[in-house]
């Protein structure tokens, strides 16, 4: 099966990179008595080009979820895979925790979510979490949902925690590594970022959105359209920037939340009206 082939390729690439590293180190150790190197330096680039996340970072995200559970006391944490390209195949994804010796399959639910197990060996080996899909074909989010909410709603406290866990777990992805580092300057402190009134963490609804309304007691407020669609209505240049956004094919599902506005309590309900609603 093609999926298996890709998974095997991923493992082979990882193993090859490890072998190359060991051989290079070994060659550098073998020097003649005169001190001259026997072998010229060789630069090798491993042909690995798959979506991957750091296992340790994702575990740190899980740790943060436990510490901040009060935001969503009845919710559990899962992670969600989302398409980043129009042709990304979201069926039959095989997800693994992969290290030099560790290789653990992670089951994915029909809604493309999964729970990550804690494994000391994977931690020690600084493993990666990798689906059998090409890099830049997917993005990831924390998925924190309080059970029993009315249909078409989320809870603001759940979303506040998703922002923090998502950043701590390193789930945000952009194409250009240098630009990602620049962004990291702003996002390496999840608490600082997610509590900021100007935070613009991109959330993705289940379906294309027409409206989002916050409801807390008698207070009811619909978000301006500038808080939907990655602020497209404010920015005619957005289509040109989309390749740098992990919302690339989800822009009609994106919305911002007033994460740092504490006048909205964590129990605030977030109601969605979808484009295809009657």
């Amino acid at each position: 099966m093609a999926g298996n082939a890709i998974a095997l390729s991923a493992r082979a690439a990882f193993a090859a990179a490890l072998v190359i590293a060991c051989v290079t180190a070994s060659a550098q150790d073998k020097k003649p008595a005169g001190g001259a190197a026997v072998l010229p330096p060789v630069t090798v680039t491993a042909p690995r080009d798959f979506v991957e996340k750091s296992y340790r970072k994702m575990i740190r995200g899980m740790d943060l979820f436990e510490r901040l559970h009060a935001y969503a006391p009845n919710a559990s944490l899962r992670f969600k895979l989302l398409p980043r390209k129009r042709d990304t195949n979201m069926k039959h994804i095989e997800l693994e925790v992969l290290g030099p010796t560790v290789d653990i399959e992670v089951p994915i639910a029909p809604d493309d979510t999964f729970a990550l197990m804690r494994n000391q060996q994977a931690w020690d080996e600084d493993a990666i979490v990798t689906p059998n899909r090409r890099s830049r074909s997917m993005t990831w989010r924390a998925e924190i949902r309080t059970p029993g909410l009315p249909p078409r709603t989320r809870r603001l406290g759940d979303l506040r925690l998703e922002c923090r866990v998502g950043l701590e777990a390193g789930l945000v992805s952009n194409n250009d590594s240098l630009i990602s580092k620049m962004i990291h300057v702003f996002t390496d402190d999840p608490e600082r970022y997610c509590s900021n009134p100007d935070a613009h963490y991109l959330f993705f609804a289940d379906k294309p959105l027409f409206g989002v309304t916050l409801v807390a007691g008698n207070r009811r407020e619909t978000l301006p359209v500038s808080e939907l669609y990655a602020a497209a209505s404010e920015d005619p240049g957005l289509p040109y920037d989309l390749p740098f956004c992990d919302c690339e094919v989800l822009v009609d599902r994106t919305y911002f939340m007033p994460l740092g506005d504490r006048s909205w309590p964590d129990d605030t309900l977030v109601e969605f009206e979808y484009m295809d609603d009657p």
Binding site: N174, P208, F210, T222, G237, P239, L242, E248, V249
Partner: protein, 123 residues
């Protein structure tokens, strides 16, 4: 300082990257999104947002009908065929605007409308 979006590159950051030779020359391409933002998408003088909403018939009004009645809108066009048109009142607060939002189905007929009243109007 304004905090940058975590996933979406602020244009300033992107512009800096391009200026530094990192981004090269991005060729305009028709992607999953088109945005049209005219110099003004304010409702015609004297027309209240409620009156503007009443001028539209869901399931019947076309893009041409709406443009004729209300003028130019800010348009967000998705590759699904849906379009969102936005009109605001004169002098609207950017963070808390009064706005009329119209959703066109891929058929080109109005599917939904939404009137959002900013705090200045709600009082």
């Amino acid at each position: 300082m304004s905090v940058a979006s975590s996933q979406f590159l602020p244009r300033l950051v992107l512009a800096s990257a391009i200026a530094a030779g990192l981004g090269g020359c991005a060729a305009p391409a028709r992607g999953p999104l088109v945005v049209e933002k005219p110099s003004s998408s304010v409702l015609p003088g004297g027309m209240t947002p409620q009156a503007a909403q009443s001028a539209i018939t869901v399931g019947q009004s076309t893009r041409a009908d709406v443009a004729a009645a209300l003028g130019q809108a800010t348009i967000v066009r998705f590759d699904s065929g849906y379009e969102v048109w936005v009109y605001q009142t004169a002098g609207a607060d950017r963070r808390d605007p009064t706005e009329l939002v119209i959703l066109f189905a891929p058929s080109g007929v109005v599917k939904k409308t939404r009137l959002r009243l900013g705090a200045a109007v709600r009082k």
